[in-house]
Symmetry: C2
Subunit: 255 residues, 2 copies
C-alpha cells in the first residue's frame, strides 16, 4: 500500500516557523507536498484570485520533493494543488500551524481555516492548526504529541464528507496541556476600533484594531471555554451556512 | 419616529451599476449611507485588512449625504461604517446587487455575502443581493418589486440574531419571475481548471477557471433548484460553521 499523500499549506507564508514545524510532523505520516503563499495572507478568509493570475515558484524550505511558493491566497494554494499539481487527491490537507488563534468567529476571517475548509470541499480529510501565540519565538513543539494524535486519528477515521477540523492550541508548556476537547464554535464577535492617523500630507488613514468579545463565557462546550481551561480545542467544521431553523418563519414572512 | 438607517455596500466597487440600483431602491425605505470598495473585490470572501491601512474618500455616485469609497474589502467597509462612521447601528445592511450568482457554495467565496454576514454579526438585519447575470448590460430592475418586498419584510420582521439573507435572482424578465422561494444552500463544488500560459519571458503563469457542479440536482429545497425553476432564492445564512452532528463520533475517536 502506498503511503498517505499529505498536502500542507498555511496563511503566514511558506517560510514561517509554524508551517516548517507542521511539515516536519507530517513527514512521519506520509509523502508531503507543500504549496503555500509567498507572503503573509492573514485575514484573507476564503478569498480566491479571479481577476489576476497566479504563479508558482520552486522553493527549498521544507526538504520535500515538491514544494512551491504561490502568489495567491491559501485557498488558491489548495485549488492549485488538487487541480493542477497533484496526480491524485491528497489523503490529508493540513493548514498551519497558524501564528495566532482561529477559534470561535475567527474561523470566518482565517486564511488557515479557509484552506482546510477548501480541502474538505475537494473531498480530502483536512485539519487547520493554530497556536494561540503571535510571538516570533512561539514554541509549536509543546503540543506535538497531540498534533500527532489528531493527524493519526483522522488518517484512520475519516470525517463525513465536507467536514474538516479546526484545532486551536493554548499557549502552554507540554506538561500544562490538559488534553483534547471536541467542542463547538463559541458565539463571539470583534468590537473594532479604527485608529485614525494622519499621513505626512495631513490626510487621514485608519488601522483596524479590535477587542474579542465572547457572548457566552459561561458555556462549557465551546472552543473558547476549552482553550481557557488549558485544553486543545477541536471543532468539526463545515461550510453549509444555511440557518436551517429560520426557513419556516421566513417562508411565512415572505408569502 | 426616525426613518430606518440603511447602510449599503458591495464587492464590485462603489460605482458599479448593481449598487447604484440598490441604493436607488433603498432610498424609498430610509436614510441611506454608502461605504463601498474603490475597486472590484470579487472573490474576496471574508477578507479583512490587518497588515495594511485603510482610507476613505468622499464620492458622489449615489446622491446621498454620506458616501465614501474605501480602499479595503467589503467586510472592512461594514466594520468601518459600524465602528467609525455611523453614530448608531444601522437598521439594515444591504450588500450588492452583485453582478453574478452567489448561490450555493459561492457564499463562502463571495465578498457580497461576507459583507451581509458581517452586518448580521454586528447586530443589524442584513441582505446580500445577487443577480445571475455577469453582463455589463444586466437589468437589475426586472426583480425590483421582489427586492422591495424582501427589504420591506425584513424591516418589519427581524431575523434571529446573527442571521442574514442570501438572495439570488435569476436572469429573467419581470413577467417570467415566478416569485420567492425560501430554501437552503445546495451542496455543490467548483471543479477548477488552471489554464497555464507563458509570459513574454517564457515563464508560466495560471488563470483560475472552473466548472460549477451541483451535487444534488434532484433536491427541490435548494437555492439552485429554485433558481433553475425561475424563482428568486432566499437562503437564511449564519456563521456557525460547527458540524454539530460530528461532535459525538469525534469525541470517541479522539479519546
Amino acid at each position: 500500500m502506498s503511503k498517505p499523500l499529505i498536502f500542507v499549506t498555511n496563511d503566514d507564508g511558506i517560510s514561517s516557523p509554524g508551517i516548517i514545524f507542521l511539515v516536519k510532523v507530517a513527514k512521519q505520516f506520509g509523502d508531503v507536498v507543500v504549496i503555500a503563499p509567498d507572503k503573509p495572507q492573514s485575514g484573507m478568509g476564503h478569498a480566491i484570485t479571479i481577476n489576476s493570475t497566479l504563479r508558482l515558484n520552486k522553493t527549498n524550505y521544507h526538504g520535500v520533493e515538491m514544494e512551491y511558493s504561490c502568489t495567491g491566497t491559501p485557498v488558491d494554494c489548495v485549488k492549485m494543488a488538487v487541480n493542477k499539481i497533484l496526480d491524485r487527491r491528497p489523503d490529508l490537507v493540513l493548514s498551519g500551524i497558524n501564528h495566532g488563534s482561529n477559534s470561535s468567529i475567527n474561523v470566518i476571517y482565517s486564511g488557515t481555516m479557509s484552506a482546510a475548509i477548501e480541502g474538505a470541499l475537494e473531498g480530502s480529510s483536512a485539519i487547520g492548526f493554530s497556536l494561540c501565540d503571535y510571538g516570533i519565538d512561539a514554541d509549536f513543539s509543546q503540543a506535538q504529541k497531540f498534533i500527532e494524535k489528531i493527524i493519526s486519528s483522522l488518517l484512520k477515521n475519516k470525517l463525513s464528507k465536507g467536514v474538516c477540523l479546526n484545532v486551536n492550541i493554548p499557549k502552554l508548556k507540554a506538561d500544562e496541556l490538559k488534553g483534547i476537547k471536541v467542542c463547538r464554535q463559541a458565539k463571539a464577535n470583534w468590537v473594532e476600533e479604527f485608529e485614525e492617523r494622519l499621513d505626512p500630507y495631513s490626510r487621514p488613514y485608519y488601522w483596524l484594531t479590535g477587542k474579542f468579545v465572547n457572548f457566552e463565557p459561561e458555556s462549557n462546550d465551546t472552543d473558547e471555554w476549552a482553550l481557557s481551561k488549558g485544553y486543545i480545542s477541536v471543532v468539526p467544521t463545515q461550510c453549509d451556512l444555511t440557518a436551517h431553523k429560520e426557513i419556516d418563519t421566513l417562508t411565512q414572512n415572505l408569502k
